[in-house]
Homo-oligomer: 495 residues x 2
């Protein structure tokens, strides 16, 4: 016993304390999350410098185009939502409805909604049911029914702290160890690879088709699946992000059917990340749930065993309330015993933030036609939608003007993900700094212009291709021109 | 390839879909969380029945004494907090300060605080820094400095979604696999054992000393540690809950020193769960950080390598805002490279709820002496504190009257954890139902009275002892008398 103790002491003595980079959880160490990585940290340092009056930088503002954070930039919250939330936070305001109306323009539907929600949750400071407050799950179920034309059951709904925690819950339940694998689109939102790293499970990548507006190619997925199986991976689920992040792609009914066919044949749980469902410029959003129910009607039997988990969030769309950390997922076709384990898992963290849950309710149940807050709601909602579309196309057109840059036409989400072709000298210069070429490019862009974007390597990309992801949330076009000017100088320098 | 495929198909065919109880993550399946388990579910069913007008039950209300959820019961939120939060949710209210004052009694310090917070976070709907908004971490650092008399660095602070998510983060980073172990007090809050189950790490239990008001016995801990090491467990950390949950104990300076001595000698990370730090009836709360800094001054060198993570929360104390999911932890003495990994880990979930972060700021920086909201704040705060103390002692006195029940005098937290000695016939009756005797007792109590408490087995207890945990949050004394009456009938029945 003493020997063991001494041996251990010696081994760790040099590190001072107990923990060091070599003995913490290796899966935490292995996880990568570029959205808030080196570039984001540097951008924040620049922002602080500028705020402190530093004049040494070659730009006067930092543009955080690295993260879909609408209200950090130009987007104003929807008034109806925030009016209701203010009453939920301070219910004593409800004692003077007349003052609320005359001084602050609160309409009766705002007051009514706050009362209805409070009657169920009691206080937004109290824990709710771990799956979320019953009244809120009822509203979400109605929303899904109206959206899809097929019923939804509140018992199958789990409110979450943003979609991220929902994804984490699902992957935690699904993955049973190092041989478990999940098909993940490439490029992808790095939450998926990071969470699989944490779980020590396998990411089985499948490439999206850039030339087909980043659509899915089911044959390519089948190939990747077969390879993974041959290598001993027990592939259990497939992630689809629709509309796409970082690609902005909006999937067709046919593409969705392809994935569901595969899921039915290969018994894969489908994780449909649908947080950008209202950010669609081209065509219409089709939910996986709707498509699944349609197919179940059209081909009786074939799709009966498909398990689908679909996620939504208050963070994106015209709501843009990511700081509130609200969201939900719906389980379709899950074994009730597995669902009970999902419940137990989420109950360990007690419940998602209750005010965020209430915001989910407001998102899925906004003022209706004829209700007093409807006109302002519509005006604000449409204004945000139109602004996003305008900026998406302004950015897209700027990319058309840039040498060696190719970009798919905007379809949805909040992002563009252009390909960049860099001169060999730039690639060499990157190598000399021990950096990926796209990372090198993005760092130079930040240093020169204050515009922060994320290199494609943070999301995954086909070998020998380079990309970056930018949001189109920042106001104005000045920053777009900064990118254009930088790019042309960069290309000239490394020609 | 085809052979493998077919073999797999056959294996899972009987289960319908892909996932079933036997192939999901076994660590999720193994995790136990009694606070929201069978009893809580049954209590909720009774509540719904009563709300629907059911008259068949032998009680007219359900008392949720199973969970520290103050605002579900009697506790009103602090007005200052909620006034500020209402302005953060709807900043357009700030445009009419006069109306806020005259109609709603908002004082100038409420308005000023909302403006200060908004200037930093921009919008509570925007993501913040993953560690939490800078201004809020500054306030927390000042709070810790004033509380302890030793400096705190905002860079060492991580805001969290309640303390639970902080605990999860810390254990995820610390535990590196099945041989990693963490010392956990028994009885304990089951978050610890559940999270260790999820991580497939070892819970190394150490028993608290019931006869010494649930204090810690360092010699007993050393023994458990030695046994665990001998069995091959790499014990990396020790959890201390102070004031205790479920025990309500408040640790002495000497007990805290004992734990820190052990941590220094054995290189154990100390996880100090201090969420009940303001719920102290007897003596004063001493933080682990303060004690550590004192010892570092008193005995230079010995404690230099101690790593401490201490947690706090808005959920408990006189704040009681658990539905808002706010909290923080402070890292002391951690290797900066490890801290960087903690940052990366929390950044994957982007940021804790921003409104919950703001509530943390309000908790640690309430209205000061002489400020306009101070008088009301003090009255409300003291009212809640006195009410808790009164109820704690009422419950304690009721337990004194009950045959076979022994309870330590209330010291802190929100709980009492009495020992119950049940007649052999009751133990047999429990066995016949395949239940632990304390679980059997608590189920009968719920069925007969509507009072929901948690059996001691949910927290861990010494072999051959039985307990239950009850909060003392529910208003009135009627429900306490329901327990007394039930207990005497139960004892008579199984005599």
């Amino acid at each position: 016993m003493t020997v063991t103790l001494n041996a251990k002491r010696t081994l760790t003595a040099s590190s001072g304390g107990r923990l060091n980079l070599d003995n913490i959880n290796p899966h935490v160490k292995a996880a990568k999350y570029a959205v808030r990585g080196e570039l984001a940290v540097k951008a924040e340092e620049y922002r602080v410098k500028l705020a402190q009056g530093d004049k040494s930088l070659p730009f006067d503002s930092v543009i955080f185009a690295n993260i879909g954070n609408p209200q950090q930039l130009d987007q104003k919250p929807i008034s109806f939502f925030r009016q209701v939330l203010s009453l939920l936070e301070n219910p004593s305001l409800l004692e003077k409805p007349e003052a609320l109306r005359t001084s602050f323009g609160y309409q009766q539907d705002v007051i009514d909604r706050a009362k209805t929600l409070l009657a169920d949750v009691q206080s937004v400071g109290a824990y709710s049911h771990s799956q979320g407050a019953p009244i809120i799950r009822d509203s979400v179920a109605k929303f899904i029914e109206e959206r899809d034309g097929f019923p939804a059951n509140p018992q199958d709904l789990y409110l979450t702290g943003g979609a991220s925690s929902g994804v984490s819950t699902l992957l935690n339940v699904i993955c049973d160890g190092p041989s478990a694998g999940v098909l993940v689109p490439i490029p992808q939102y790095p939450l998926y690879t990071a969470t699989l790293s944490l779980l020590n499970a396998q990411c089985v990548p499948y490439h999206l088709e850039e030339h087909r507006a980043w659509g899915t190619d089911v044959n390519a997925i089948r190939e990747n699946l077969a390879q993974a199986k041959a290598a001993g991976t027990d592939v259990r689920a497939i992630v689809v992000i629709n509309p796409g992040n970082p690609t902005g792609a909006s999937l067709s009914a046919e593409d969705i059917k392809g994935v569901l066919d595969l899921a039915a044949e290969e018994k894969l749980v489908v994780i449909a990340d649908e947080v950008y469902q209202t950010n669609v410029f081209t065509g219409e959003f089709i939910s996986f749930k709707k498509r699944l129910r349609q197919l179940q009607q059209e081909v009786p039997g074939k799709y009966d065993n498909v398990e689908l988990a679909s996620l939504h969030s208050v963070s994106k769309g015209m709501v843009g309330e990511c700081g509130h950390r609200g969201g939900y997922f719906e389980l379709v076709g899950f074994d009730p015993e597995v669902a009970a384990q999902v419940y137990k898992y989420v109950s360990i963290m007690l419940c998602p933030p209750v005010i965020g849950q209430c915001l989910v309710e407001l998102m899925v149940n906004p003022p209706k036609e004829g209700e007093p807050s409807r006109a302002v709601y519509e005006k604000e909602y449409n204004g945000i939608r139109d602004g996003l579309r305008k900026r998406a196309f302004a950015l897209y057109e700027a990319f058309q003007r840039m040498e060696g840059v190719e970009c798919q036409e905007p379809q949805g989400a909040m992002y563009l993900f252009p390909t960049i072709t860099l001169p060999p000298k730039a690639v060499e210069a990157a190598k000399a700094e021990n950096r990926a070429a796209d990372e090198f490019y993005c760092l130079r862009l930040l240093d020169a212009t204050g515009v922060c974007v994320v290199p494609g390597s943070g999301f995954g990309q086909k070998e020998n291709t380079l990309h970056f992801r930018t949001t189109f949330l920042a106001p104005g076009t000045d920053w777009v021109e900064r990118i254009v000017k930088f790019h042309s100088e960069f290309m000239a320098k490394y020609k």
